[in-house]
């Protein structure tokens, strides 16, 4: 138990249960979170998410952070039921810290991927019951291979590597096609884009998703609401400030929006 540095096992020994399955009430709409994306750019990986949380046709919240920093080198972006997703993020954050502190070494990148996969698998009954489906993207810097990587999951816990990009959430079908187009016929592939250009593309992609998906929050300049964009490089995770996003949005995105 403790000697293996497995925090989730420790929690379970104390009676903790993740995602208790319940019957989704047909008349009750659950809060869900919407468009997230990640793609490789010149220096690493960019992960972005809109800020809207909805329940049916109601906007529950417009300041949701769906791009969660799990540790200095990894990020989990969430789509699905935020209650379960935030709980998973908290378990992962503690698991990675607990492993590092007990075993006196960092958990490998593969180990981190597996940890999320295990949580999703444990959550299957709740996901299938309709009360706790989470479809995350996990991105991070793999120190062993000296490369930033992207993985996406299905609700059963299967993990797939997003070689160039990954998307999830209700607005993802809109931007998946754009990402494919940009990466294949754009002036340069996504992985060659410098930071500023990658950020501009992320803002344009999320704005496009919001155009066609009512459950994805667009940019609200009056309220100063911009997406959450995090960059993962060999130096760790860094968040783009609202000031930077505002400047890029006004100079290179807002045309026609």
């Amino acid at each position: 138990m403790g000697l293996q540095g497995d925090f989730y096992q420790l929690l379970k020994e104390q009676g903790y249960v993740l995602g208790v399955p319940g019957q989704a009430d047909a008349g009750r709409e659950l809060t869900t979170a919407t468009t997230i994306l990640a793609f490789k750019y010149h220096d690493g990986v960019l992960v972005a998410g809109d800020r809207r949380a909805t329940a049916g046709n109601l906007v529950m919240y417009d300041r949701t952070d769906k791009v969660l920093e799990i540790d200095r080198y990894s990020v989990m972006a969430i789509a699905g039921v935020p209650a379960t997703a935030y709980e998973m993020a908290r378990i992962l954050e503690h698991s990675f810290k607990y492993y590092r502190r007990t075993q006196l070494q960092e958990l490998s990148f593969e180990g981190k991927l597996r940890a999320l996969s295990k949580l999703l698998k444990e959550n299957v009954p709740a996901a299938l019951a309709g009360t706790g489906a989470v479809v995350p993207i996990f991105a991070g810097y793999d120190a062993g291979q000296e490369a930033a990587k992207i993985y996406f999951y299905d609700i059963l816990g299967a993990e797939f590597e997003g070689v160039d990009y990954a998307v999830s959430g209700s607005g993802s079908s809109t931007i998946r096609g754009i990402l494919h187009y940009l990466n294949t016929w754009g002036e340069q592939p996504l992985s060659a884009m410098p930071e500023e250009q990658a950020t501009v593309q992320a803002l344009r992609l999320l704005t496009s998703a919001a155009e066609f998906d009512s459950a994805t929050g667009g940019i609200n300049r009056d309220a100063g609401l911009y997406p959450v964009i995090k960059l993962i490089t060999s130096g760790g995770v860094r968040m783009m400030s609202d000031l930077q996003l505002r400047s890029l949005f006004e100079s290179r995105v807002s045309k026609g929006v």
Binding site: L10, R100, R101
Partner: protein
């Protein structure tokens, strides 16, 4: 036979002598605040004696490595479960010690048919706001003391007192000051311990070492240079300025070389 009160008291007394013997050759540990956080310092022969416990908590230990590991795991489990179930702010050194490991250590010490923990622990806690950083020392019998600004671990309380007297007079504003002061304080303690061993009587160390001789910087550096032949300097900090929630980091060899007192810099590290 231990059911008679006198026998039990005698057994506990014997146990105290046994444990005091175990620490005679142990490496002291020094903890001191500086403007950017808290420094923990010791010298070791390979096995680390400084550890990260939680976001703002770190541990320095003396004693048997296996016992130290067992208690370290206890602390880690308690801290992480509490941090998950409540919040990181609820994981405090005081709670972990008073309601966590101190009673366990005391019980092991007094159960004379079982082995006691051969450990002394220094738990340091970086507060949310500076000025309230905390230090907790726990003895092998479970007694604990709360201190502020600095604390040390050594073989006996007499040695610890000499170290604290020296440390009190040292500047510890910058990291460089703190490292220099901590290393010299370590040398004060180690010299007194070694002299006590050579004299064969642990109780005479106070008079065996005149204050002037014992705290002269040149003599301390000479002693440290001798120690460096078989040990390495270990320094870790709870750094208030590190981004993110985890504040613990070990000073790398390069960082350490840059802040070591000049008299020690040419040595291998």
């Amino acid at each position: 036979m231990y059911e008679e009160p006198y026998r039990w008291v005698e057994a506990v007394g014997n146990r105290r002598h046994y444990l005091d013997d175990q620490f005679k050759t142990g490496a002291p540990v020094v903890g001191v605040t500086y403007e950017g956080g808290i420094l923990l310092m010791t010298m070791s022969k390979g096995t680390s004696k400084l550890y990260e416990i939680y976001d703002r908590l770190a541990l320095g230990g003396m004693g048997h490595p296996a016992d130290l590991e067992k208690l370290r795991f206890n602390l880690l489990e308690m801290a992480h479960v509490e941090g998950f179930n409540r919040s990181a702010s609820d994981v405090t050194g005081g709670r972990l010690v008073k309601y966590g490991i101190a009673p366990v250590i005391k019980q092991a010490f007094e159960e004379v048919f079982k082995a006691p923990f051969i450990v002394k622990i220094l738990l340091v806690e970086l507060s949310q706001t500076s000025r309230k950083d905390g230090f907790l020392t726990i003895n092998y019998d479970g007694t604990f003391e709360e201190k502020s600004e600095y604390a040390v671990l050594a073989a006996t309380s007499v040695v610890e007192q000499k170290m604290v007297e020296y440390l009190r007079q040292q500047d510890h504003v910058s990291l460089e000051d703190a490292v220099g002061g901590a290393i010299r304080t370590w040398a004060v303690g180690d010299r007194v311990q070694r002299r006590a061993l050579e004299d064969g009587e642990g109780q005479n160390e106070a008079k065996a070492d005149s204050d002037q001789q014992g705290t002269d910087s040149e003599a301390l550096y000479a002693h440290l240079r001798r120690c460096l032949d078989e040990k390495t300097i270990e320094c870790a900090v709870l750094d208030r300025h590190v981004p993110g929630s985890s504040k613990y980091r070990v000073l790398t060899a390069d960082e350490l070389s840059a802040v070591l007192p000049k008299d020690l810099r040419p040595t291998r590290l």
